[in-house]
C-alpha cells in the first residue's frame, strides 16, 4: 500500500489508544499531538503499535520527525512497501 492508502489503517491503530477520536478528527498534515490528547506513554504505545502492526522498524531518532499522520504513513510505506 502507499502512504495514502495506509492512512485509515494507521488511524485505526491510533484510535485503539485514543478511542475518543472520530473520523475526520485528524488532519493528516498537521502535528498529531496538537490534535489528539496523547501523553508520552500514549505516544510511545502508538509508535510501538505501528511497529508491530506493519512490521517496520522505528528508531528513537525517527520519533521527532514522525509528528504527523502523513509522515508516519510515509515512513511505513517506505520501509515496508508490502504493508497493508
Amino acid at each position: 500500500m502507499n502512504a495514502i492508502e495506509l492512512r485509515p489503517l494507521v488511524f485505526a491503530e491510533l484510535r485503539k489508544i485514543a478511542p475518543e477520536l472520530e473520523e475526520g478528527d485528524v488532519e493528516p498534515g498537521k502535528p498529531l499531538r496538537d490534535q489528539v490528547d496523547l501523553d508520552s506513554m500514549d505516544w510511545l504505545n502508538f509508535l510501538i503499535a505501528v511497529h508491530q502492526r506493519f512490521a517496520v522498524e522505528i528508531a528513537e531518532e525517527d520519533y521527532a520527525t514522525l509528528d504527523t499522520l502523513e509522515r508516519i504513513c510515509e515512513l511505513v510505506a517506505a520501509r515496508n512497501p508490502d504493508a497493508s
Binding site: A18, E20, D37, D39, S40, M41, A64
Partner: protein, 569 residues
C-alpha cells in the same frame, strides 16, 4: 563497573565547590523584601534583578516546539509580567482573588503567573493535559475569577464540554488578536502589591484517596525555602543554566520551573515540547545546561532509548543532576554515571511541603535508591500513629510514616475549605506525609510506599476517586475501582476495574467507548490506560471499594496476603 552501595564524592575534585550548607536565616538575608516592607515572590524572582545589573541577562530561554529559541531577559520578563498584572487589575483582580493559568509551556504562562503574583492574586497553574473535568473541579474549588488560556485549549477543554464554572468572570485567551492588542498597549510598569510572608501566593491541587482534589494553599514566605533549596539542594551558582523539566501545572514546575531559578538570578530553560529523547540530549548539550532537575520517568525513558543515543552527545557544561517525583531506582542513578558522567541526586518533597525537604546534595555521598538526608533546618522522623498521638521511631531501618517537624517556611497553610482535613495532617507538632519510609544509621531516608491508595504515574499524583467518579458517569458502568498498576517506566499506570449495569455486555467495543469517555473528561494524563471488566467489585462492609484487594489480585498475590493488604486502607 562495580556498583557499591555508596557513591563517594571527592568534593575537591568537583568542577565547582558545592555551596556551603545554609539554613533559612541565611536564605532570608539573600532576599531583598519589598521596598517599604512586605515580601512578594515576583519581586524577589524578577523585579529586583530587572532593576539591577542582571537586567539584561537572560532569565528564561524559551525553546518553542519548532523554530528558533527566544531569550527573555529579566527586564523583558519584568515588563511583560507587569503588563499582565495591569490587565488583571483592569479586570478587577485584587489581592487574594484566584487566577488560574491553563497554558502549555509558552512565555505567556510565565508572564501570567508572575503578573498574578504582582497583584497579590492566588495563582494556580493547571496542567494543560488535564481534561475538562479536572479543570472545572479545580477552578470551582479555588473560586477562580480569571482563567488565562489559549484559543486552542479553550476550545478543546472549556468550550466543547461545558462544565459550569460560576465564579469565573473573565477568560483571557493570550493568543487572540484582541488580547495581543491590549497587552501591547498596557503599561510595562506596575506597582507590586504589598504582600506579607503569610499572604497566599499559589494554590496547588493535589489528589487524595477519597473525595475531590485538595487545594493546598501556599504563601509568599515560601520564597525563603525556594532560595535555600536552590542553593543547597540544587547547588545553583551565578551563571548557571538551569533546566527543570517539570510542567508548571505540577508543584515542581512552579517552585523549581519558575520561582527558584529566577530568585537565584540564573538562566532557566523552558522547553515547550513534550519528552523526546533525542531532543532532550540536544538541549542538554547545545544549551549548555549546568544544573538539571528532572524526573525518574524521564530518566527511565532515556535509559530505554539506549546508550547509543546518549553517546552521540557530550555534556561538558553539566555539573549537577537531580530528580524528584517518585523514588529513583539505583539502576537509574548508575545510568547517570555511565551516560552523563555523574550520579543523579534523588530528592524528596510533596505538594504540601512547597519545596525540597530531603535530598542527596552536591557535597554528599550518594546512596543509590535513597532520597537523601533532611536539608539544614528540616527535621524529619519516622513515626507511628497511635490512639493518643504519634510515637517517634528511634530504631534505624524500621518502617514507619515519614513526618516533618511543622513550621518550615514553605509549609502549606491550609486545604481550601477543608480545615478538618488540614488539621488531621498534623499531630503533636509534626506534619504526617502519608509516605512510608525508613531511616538508616547514616541518617539517609528510604522510600517504602504510600500509606494510602493514591496513584503515582509519571511522577504525578492521581486520585483514584476522581477517576472512578467519571467512569461511573458512563451509562453502562455500575461501579468502578481504580488502582495504580506497577509499570517499569512510569512507576504506575492507572488501571480501572468496572462492573456493568444490567443489559450491557462486556466487550472490546464497550471498553473502547468507556475509555474514550474517560479520556474526553479526564484528559490523557489522568484517564485509565487499561480497563478490565469484572462482574462485581470487592467492597468493605461499609461499602467502600477495596482497591487494595483489586491491586493484590492484579499483582497475583496469594490470598493469605490480602488481609494485611487491606489493613490501613
Amino acid at each position: 563497573m562495580t556498583r557499591p552501595p555508596v557513591i563517594r564524592k571527592d568534593v575537591a575534585a568537583l568542577k565547582l565547590a558545592p555551596n556551603e550548607p545554609a539554613g533559612w536565616d541565611e536564605a532570608r538575608r539573600s532576599l531583598d523584601g519589598l521596598p517599604g516592607g512586605g515580601l512578594n515572590i515576583a519581586w524577589e524572582a524578577v523585579e529586583r534583578h530587572a532593576r539591577g545589573p542582571k537586567a539584561g541577562q537572560v532569565a528564561i530561554r524559551w525553546l518553542p516546539a519548532t523554530g528558533a529559541a527566544r531569550p527573555i531577559t529579566y527586564r523583558e520578563l519584568s515588563e511583560a509580567s507587569s503588563r499582565f498584572a495591569n490587565l488583571l487589575r483592569a479586570r478587577g483582580v485584587r489581592k487574594g482573588d484566584a487566577v488560574f493559568v491553563l497554558c502549555a509551556r509558552i512565555p505567556e504562562l510565565y508572564f501570567a503567573v508572575l503578573g498574578g503574583l504582582k497583584v497579590g492574586a492566588a495563582v494556580s497553574p493547571l496542567f494543560s493535559a488535564f481534561g475538562p473535568e479536572p479543570i472545572a473541579t479545580r477552578v470551582n474549588l479555588g473560586r477562580g475569577k480569571v482563567l488565562v488560556t489559549t484559543e486552542a485549549l479553550f476550545q478543546k477543554k472549556v468550550a466543547k464540554i461545558a462544565v459550569p464554572m460560576p465564579t469565573l468572570e473573565h477568560v483571557l485567551r493570550v493568543d487572540s488578536p484582541e488580547f495581543r492588542r491590549e497587552f501591547e498597549a498596557a503599561s510595562p510598569a506596575c506597582e507590586v502589591e504589598r504582600t506579607e510572608p503569610g499572604d497566599t501566593s499559589f494554590l496547588h491541587f493535589t489528589s487524595g484517596t477519597t473525595g475531590s482534589p485538595k487545594g493546598a494553599v501556599h504563601v509568599h514566605g515560601a520564597v525563603v525555602m525556594h532560595s535555600a533549596t536552590g542553593r543547597v539542594a540544587l547547588d545553583l551558582h551565578p551563571g548557571d543554566v538551569f533546566w527543570c523539566t517539570a510542567d508548571p501545572g505540577w508543584v515542581t514546575g512552579t517552585s523549581y520551573g519558575i520561582v527558584t531559578p529566577l530568585v537565584h538570578g540564573v538562566t532557566s530553560i523552558v522547553d515547550e515540547a513534550d519528552f523526546d529523547a533525542a531532543r532532550w540530549y540536544r538541549i542538554l548539550e547545545e544549551e549548555r545546561v549546568s544544573v538539571w532537575y528532572t524526573a525518574p520517568t524521564a530518566i527511565r525513558m532515556l535509559m530505554k532509548a539506549g546508550a547509543e543515543l546518549a553517546k552521540q552527545h557530550a555534556f561538558p557544561s553539566l555539573r549537577f543532576v537531580a530528580s524528584v517525583g517518585e523514588p529513583l531506582n539505583p539502576e537509574a542513578v548508575w545510568w547517570g554515571m555511565d551516560a552523563l558522567g555523574m550520579p543523579i541526586h534523588d530528592n524528596w518533597w510533596q505538594t504540601e511541603t512547597g519545596g525540597i525537604m530531603i535530598a542527596n546534595t552536591a557535597a554528599m555521598d550518594v546512596k543509590p535508591g535513597s532520597m537523601g538526608r533532611p536539608l539544614p533546618g528540616v527535621e524529619a522522623a519516622i513515626v507511628h500513629r497511635r490512639e493518643t498521638g504519634i510515637e517517634l521511631e528511634t530504631r534505624n531501618d524500621t518502617e514507619g510514616e515519614l513526618a516533618l517537624r511543622a513550621g518550615w517556611p514553605s509549609m502549606f497553610r491550609g486545604y481550601l475549605d477543608q480545615e478538618e482535613r488540614y488539621r488531621k495532617c498534623f499531630v503533636d507538632g509534626w506534619y504526617l506525609t502519608g509516605d512510608l519510609a525508613k531511616r538508616d544509621a547514616d541518617g539517609y531516608f528510604w522510600f517504602v510506599g504510600r500509606a494510602d491508595d493514591v496513584i503515582k504515574s509519571a511522577g504525578h499524583l492521581i486520585g483514584p476517586f476522581e477517576v472512578e467518579s467519571v467512569l461511573m458517569e458512563h451509562p453502562a458502568v455500575a461501579e468502578a475501582g481504580v488502582i495504580g498498576k506497577p509499570d517499569p517506566v512510569v512507576g504506575e499506570v492507572v488501571k480501572a476495574f468496572v462492573s456493568l449495569k444490567a443489559g450491557f455486555t462486556a466487550g472490546e467495543a464497550l471498553r473502547m467507548e468507556i475509555m474514550g469517555h474517560a479520556r474526553k473528561r479526564l484528559g490523557a494524563a489522568v484517564a485509565p490506560k487499561e480497563i478490565a471488566f469484572s462482574t462485581t467489585l470487592p467492597r468493605t462492609r461499609s461499602g467502600k471499594i477495596m482497591r487494595r484487594l483489586l491491586k493484590a489480585r492484579e499483582l497475583g498475590l496469594p490470598e493469605g496476603d490480602l488481609s494485611t493488604l487491606e489493613e490501613g486502607a
